[in-house]
Chain length 339, copies 2
């Protein structure tokens, strides 16, 4: 069983890691096609031992393709997805465009792998800040239902792509020499600063990024009774989103039990020994695929609450890795169907 696979947005911050992951995880690829907008056409990209040329993302680019892994802005995804599905391909989409469409499964392989079976040509991968939170919450939810989540994020500049990291580095260099650097990717200078806005205003004072954490969490966990209060903040860190999470469950979960559940959960690494200064930090999670959990403790403000700290590489589990894992599930499904 091998597949013809197209990567859309192959030259972006996430697309590059999608290619790394496809090679690293040894997906059974027969033919690999790299697609992007006109600007990137002709660029050469290394994949395993080959050099591939980026081709134009256009309506007939998907002939003969089985699976598409796409990391593009929402508006690009809105346009090309039907080109791919019309050609018979299944699209694993990392944009925000399709996630809340009732016909589109929203999948984290460690949490709701069964959801891929209901796809109608498109499967969405969740928002980066949602993915890492839900991987961690699911570890508890399987034991005792999650009822309420209060989350404050500390999100890296690479969440805004390569341009975000460049802006952080350039503006930091400027700040260190007493100069100002105009903000382009972000709303304000991000060097030595925090910006409590990610995305645009969406509803009732919450941003679009925050509302993703509300709606996507419910959809992935399959429980519309879970309430979430999110605050999303951009911080001057290049890679690795961090989250301070308070979770209330239907019944109390002891700290020891929570640690046991996190340690045993697929995709989670527990790093939790405050006395010995062991907890997850962005610098330690960069380039890794897991969701790292630490600072696990009883909520001092509710009987059924737990507080914890969660860090993950936003370009990996938050984007590329999750999408490639979905592609793996699709290939398993194709293999099962053909056997």
């Amino acid at each position: 069983m091998s597949v013809n696979l197209a990567v859309v947005g192959a030259t972006g911050a996430v697309g590059r890691i999608v290619l790394e992951q496809l090679a690293l995880r040894k997906l059974p690829i027969n033919r690999l096609k790299l697609l992007a907008s006109q600007r990137s056409v002709g660029k050469e990209v290394r994949f395993a031992d080959e050099t591939l040329k980026v081709q134009l993302l256009e309506p007939d680019a998907f002939q003969g393709i089985d699976i598409v892994v796409a990391s593009t802005p929402d508006e690009v995804s809105a346009e090309f997805a039907s080109w791919a599905t019309d050609a018979g391909a299944v699209v694993v989409d990392e944009s925000g465009y399709w996630r809340m469409d009732p016909k589109v499964p929203l999948v984290i392989p460690e949490v709701n792998p069964e959801a891929i079976h209901d796809h109608q040509g498109i499967i969405a991968s969740p928002n980066c800040s949602t993915t890492q939170m839900v991987v961690a919450l699911a570890a508890l939810h399987r034991h005792c239902p999650v009822r309420r989540v209060v989350v404050s994020t500390y999100q890296a500049t690479s969440g805004a792509g390569l341009a975000g990291n460049e802006e952080l580095y350039d503006s930091t260099r400027s700040a260190l020499t007493g100069k100002t650097h105009p903000a382009k990717t972000f709303q304000y200078p991000i060097a030595f600063n925090l910006i409590p806005q990610i995305g645009s205003e969406k509803e009732a004072g919450y941003t679009s990024e925050e509302m993703k954490m509300v709606y996507e969490t419910r959809k992935i966990m399959g429980d519309d009774d879970i309430v979430v209060c999110p605050t999303c903040v951009r911080v001057p860190v290049t890679i690795g989103h961090s989250e301070s999470i308070l979770v209330e469950t239907a019944d109390p979960i002891s700290v020891d039990k929570a640690r046991e559940l996190f340690a045993a959960a697929p995709g989670v690494t527990l790093v939790d020994d405050l006395d010995n200064k062991q907890y997850p930090m962005p610098q330690d999670c960069e380039g890794k695929d897991d969701v790292f959990v630490g600072r696990v403790r009883k909520d001092l403000s509710s009987p059924n609450g737990l507080a914890f700290w969660c860090v993950s590489d936003n370009l990996r589990k938050g984007a590329a890795t999750n999408a490639v894992q979905i592609a793996e599930l699709l290939i398993q499904k194709l293999a099962a169907a053909s056997s």
Copy 2:
């Protein structure tokens, strides 16, 4: 009415601003004495139009002094406070040493000014992260009792003094040129990183900084039923602590009412217009005395909850400004007693 005033720790990050504030707010000072450890003795410091020499902090340094404003480490405060009170001075202390002593009032002038009347020679100024939160919470509490607080902090490196900022700048310069810089002031490199530990482990998985937010909040607000779940995180920002706060009150408070309460509260500036990208950020709060509040919205996870974002210059309202305001209250009290 004028007083003899001593500043202890006059050459530190906070001490410098104490001097600025004394001059700016025109405290009626007859004689000003600067005290510090042996290392700083003889240093010359400008105050208003004078140049003053730093003198040794020693047992008989407080003769004739009425009020002491002190910014020192806990262990220094533990030692010198009785030297000052034995000489008849009142100590306004910014260290953590005396704050939870039942004989010591813990005061934020906008919140519990009446508490200064019960002093027995020492009045404590709260921890920086607590002060700004309580100034904001008090605006709501006066209208409807605060019952529960969930807070995640984003704390600046200057919270660890001048050495903290130097370490952020030096390690950032190193990181930009691909070098590593050893962490001394902080547990780990802080450049482009986050450290979810401030202080040492105190109890049940919470740090000493976090437990300050639990206990000091109750003491200042005079309500032991307020429950607080804090997460304190160091971020690569030099000045300005930020806090993501969820507060539950005894009855619901509408967003409009909350904004009205914040806007009218002493010491609070409301900056809250997400549609027009207006919210508090560290870069805008540096060098200002107020607590800045924005992103005010209904909690999506509880009927009586509100979420908001709060930023304040941790060296000013979080330390120097609050202590100088307490000194002002003491001078008013002395003036009232002598009239």
